[in-house]
Symmetry: C2
């Protein structure tokens, strides 16, 4: 029977450090792949500190600079930003898969938006060949988590933390129970849903308008809600996402649009990650949050005129102001 | 027979100083209403200097601070930005109309976009009452002019200068010939067109996408043309303007969209006035260039989804970044 005891985190930022830290605190073997030297040194020398609404804690996970250094893993959380490109992903995953094949770890991506499991699958096929690559178990999850990085080695967890997850391909027998159980032992709800795609679309109903308008209009959540026209545009975008989801056989809960608007009211002048990233000149998760949903709408012939314009403007602003489009992806 | 010999310019910026200057150079009486003290003093002390592709010249027009100071006029050019509100316009026009009624000057607005003649008409009605106000002759023109201000008292004229004009209401018998003739004596082509509205829509086919995307995407003309998606969005916006014009009984020349795209290629990285104004934090001509056309499209039931989004984003950016929406006007 499959057991999950050895965890790796690929691209351990605030999210990866939080989940990896909680799993380590629960007694699991955890290795974090950390890009920044200051963070690696801080964790190696003083441990990983998490200031959390659920209680502060400190752990001493293994830290690796290159993915070659990972010991064999049962599950690899992918915490990279969705701006990663296929070539980089292949380079990062290759040592892990080549070392462990055919007993590869579950690749569990917690990246935002659509198309991430597909990119992970494509990377597996490129690394191991199409037939062997297809046997790598791939799952995806939507993390409902508010966390951010403080000083090197210090993560602040300010709200939530649960995950909605599902298999993308090649599920491991008894794997679901094993994974859910492991997260539960770390005090984390990892709910396995029937349709990962539907759960991803449900999150996009919120993410597309608020991330997109954060960049195109420079509006935070309160700004969108306070302006009658921006609010109406957010609603239009939400309905376009719902229609696209329907074309992809995902029927979202009725009232999801009103529900999202309602929830947003409690958020105040919250700035989405995409708005902050744009203001700081960082790459934006345009492909996974806007481009991929738009491409699928176009593919199914769903009219999404507001999303078309929003995607074009966000992509243009990213390119014109910071010289990059954050994973340019030509939709439609 | 009506003669035009005494000109006034209300809101003499670069445009008003250029036309006023040329008319003064042709020997007409010209009075400029100039808002900025530095400009008034410079013109009074050293005259108005125009550096022009058609030949430099210097003239000594009358300069007024308040519109009360205007001597009786035959024609008043309105050179105010289209961001002016009705209350301000009424305050500026009242002394002129009250002094001259019932022999009011032709009010000739050269403001950008739609709805300017209507606002002038409304101001007349408010000042003189609906029945007497209706007798004030109102014309509008589209100025194809590249000019800007240098040091106080110095205007640079870099290209073009012709005007397409038409009556809005209460045309004066023989007035057209008199006005066209006066401008011709100043070396200016003022072509009287059958439909002022159609001419305004034709200019909007260019102005809406390039001014709007200058703000919403931060893109100059070359940026728009170089990006396949922005270029396509510009074309979509142009077609929406053409459809709105058609609903208003204005059939634009076939091929106007391709023609505008073609002409834009020669402009290079040209920044529209709206893009520059936004970058400098000045009020934007949102109402007349975007809001009024959108309102008319909505009124006629013409679907303009791209214009809807563009208007919302430009208005939001203006308000969020500079605390004003540049003549907010709630369309639809």
């Amino acid at each position: 029977v499959f057991k999950v005891g050895r965890f790796g985190v690929l691209g351990a930022g605030a999210l990866g450090c939080f989940y990896g830290g909680r799993l380590a605190a629960a007694g699991y073997e955890v290795s974090l792949h950390v890009r920044q030297a200051a963070w690696r040194e801080a964790i190696q020398q003083r441990g990983l500190k998490v200031s959390s609404i659920d209680g502060d804690f400190q752990v001493q996970p293994v830290v690796v600079t290159h993915t070659e250094e990972f010991e064999p893993l049962d599950l690899l959380i992918i915490g990279l930003k969705a701006t990663v490109d296929l070539g980089t992903l292949v380079a990062l995953l290759r040592p892990v898969l080549v070392k462990q094949a055919p007993k590869c770890p579950v690749l569990f991506t917690l990246q935002n938006g659509l198309g991430n499991e597909e990119m992970v699958a494509e990377a597996c096929d490129m690394i191991l060949g199409r037939s062997e690559g297809a046997s790598v178990p791939i799952a995806g999850g939507i993390a409902f988590l508010c966390s951010n990085r403080g000083e090197p080695g210090h993560v602040i967890h300010s709200a939530h933390g649960w995950i909605k997850a599902g298999w993308h391909r090649s599920p491991i027998p008894f794997g679901t129970v094993a994974i859910v159980d492991a997260f539960a032992r770390a005090g984390l709800s990892c709910e396995w849903v029937d349709s990962l795609l539907a759960a991803r679309y449900e999150k996009l109903v919120w993410n597309i308008p608020f991330n997109g308008l954060g960049v195109a209009a420079g509006a935070n959540v309160a700004d969108v809600l306070e302006s009658p026209r921006l609010r109406e545009l957010a609603r239009t975008l939400m309905m376009e996402v719902v229609a696209t989801a329907q074309a992809e056989q995902c029927s979202l809960p009725s009232g999801v649009v009103e529900d999202m608007m309602q929830r947003s009211r409690a958020m105040g002048p919250y700035r989405t990650s995409m708005q902050i990233d744009h203001e700081l000149g960082r790459p934006l998760e345009i492909r996974s949050i806007l481009g991929e949903p738009l491409g699928r709408a176009n593919q199914w012939g769903v009219p999404v005129p507001a999303l078309e314009v929003l995607f074009t403007l966000v992509q243009s602003r990213a390119r014109l102001f910071h010289g990059r489009a954050g994973g340019y992806w030509h939709a439609g």
